[in-house]
Symmetry: C2
Subunit: 224 residues, 2 copies
């Protein structure tokens, strides 16, 4: 995954960079508006981290440029002053997320994941994970080219986990998502176990690797 970090403060840039490298992201940098725009015009990034306060102008210009070029790069705005106005303006012009300084690097990481994932979902109707194929449009799942008949809830669950690929999804989140209910405390979430079991079973029986991992005490995780 390729990330562009647009940020003029050396210190922040470095700390983000070092963290990103442990996550095995490829990072590039820009510390001015002009360098940033140069890079954006000539490259595609999975995600762009954009500080709004730059020495040669407001970072929103970068955002405008990206959208004007009709680029699909995900953009997360990083703002020091945390002003609501910037946030609104940013999300409006087309940022995908917004993060106010200071933030935890793990939080940033989670946002990047989620933005990149969302982008992929939006643009693609088909997803492949080795022998596993998920067709969003027709709501069909295939393993090794052969269709696996999933029930609606099973499909929903799979998609929900895939949507947070490599991240653990709590049982409660799953319960809420599947039942469509509010954040009420669920009195019983056994149905999550049941659907997880059935989904796993159908996939493995079709010859799919065990991509759905149980995370003891927390929930489940989709990981290729």
């Amino acid at each position: 995954m390729k990330i562009l970090i647009i940020e003029d403060e050396e210190e922040i840039r470095e700390s983000i960079a070092s963290y990103m490298q442990t996550e095995k992201y490829v990072c590039e940098f820009a510390d001015t508006l002009n360098i940033a725009i140069d890079k954006i015009v000539t490259h595609d990034y999975d995600c762009i981290l954009l500080d709004l306060m730059l020495p040669d102008g407001n970072g929103l210009k970068v955002l405008e440029k990206i959208r004007a070029l009709n680029k699909q790069d995900g953009v997360i705005i990083i703002s020091a002053n945390g002003s609501l106005e910037d946030k609104i303006k940013g999300l409006n012009i087309g940022a995908d997320d917004y993060l106010a300084k200071p933030f935890h690097l793990s939080e940033l990481n989670a946002r990047i994941y989620s933005v990149v994932r969302r982008k992929k979902f939006d643009s693609k109707n088909l997803m492949y994970y080795n022998e596993l194929e998920i067709n969003l449009q027709f709501k069909v799942v295939k393993v090794k080219g052969k269709e696996v008949l999933l029930t609606r809830k099973e499909f929903d669950l799979l998609l929900f986990l895939v949507g947070s690929k490599d991240m653990v999804v709590s049982k409660n989140a799953i319960a809420e998502h599947l039942s469509g209910d509010m954040a009420d405390m669920m009195d019983n979430i056994d149905f999550v176990y049941a659907h997880a079991k059935n989904l796993k079973k159908k996939l493995t029986e079709a010859g799919c690797n065990n991509y759905i991992k149980t995370v003891y005490g927390v929930g489940y995780k989709f990981q290729v």
Copy 2:
């Protein structure tokens, strides 16, 4: 129902007012920021219609005042320029809905209904319609004090219809709501008929008047 109309253009004010009177709402008016704030401080309204362009300042100040006073009045912003920025800012500061000029009065009316209803839902856990009692908190329905056992979908349907009391809800809207699915064209909405039938049956068998009316060719309506 008491409505406050904050609008400086005489013509618009009158047309809204006359329509609202046919709907049997009680209307009050304010044509400046100062009058508006005076009224808001001293009265409670079910719904406030707020034009942003006022002679003595931006209407968002009214909104800020309402929220600062921790008032529960519903607020619908009416804006001439239809700028997205105003919309977002407004909804963010705490408006409940937003309507760009020009609009149909029936549309406005529907929005008022929906805002007022939503507010009521938010604050109330219990709703009574004569012999019918709906407990949001425990998701229980009683008729003449006796519990009626509804399935989840039946309860959902009832709530959805009650939430748009006196307005017709299309079968498609119901189908989407019940299935939790996106705006995909449903290939089959027979299940709406089924749930509607079962819900009606359970209620009438429990001795509840037929508050759920079928609107031929459109959908259903909850009406006391």
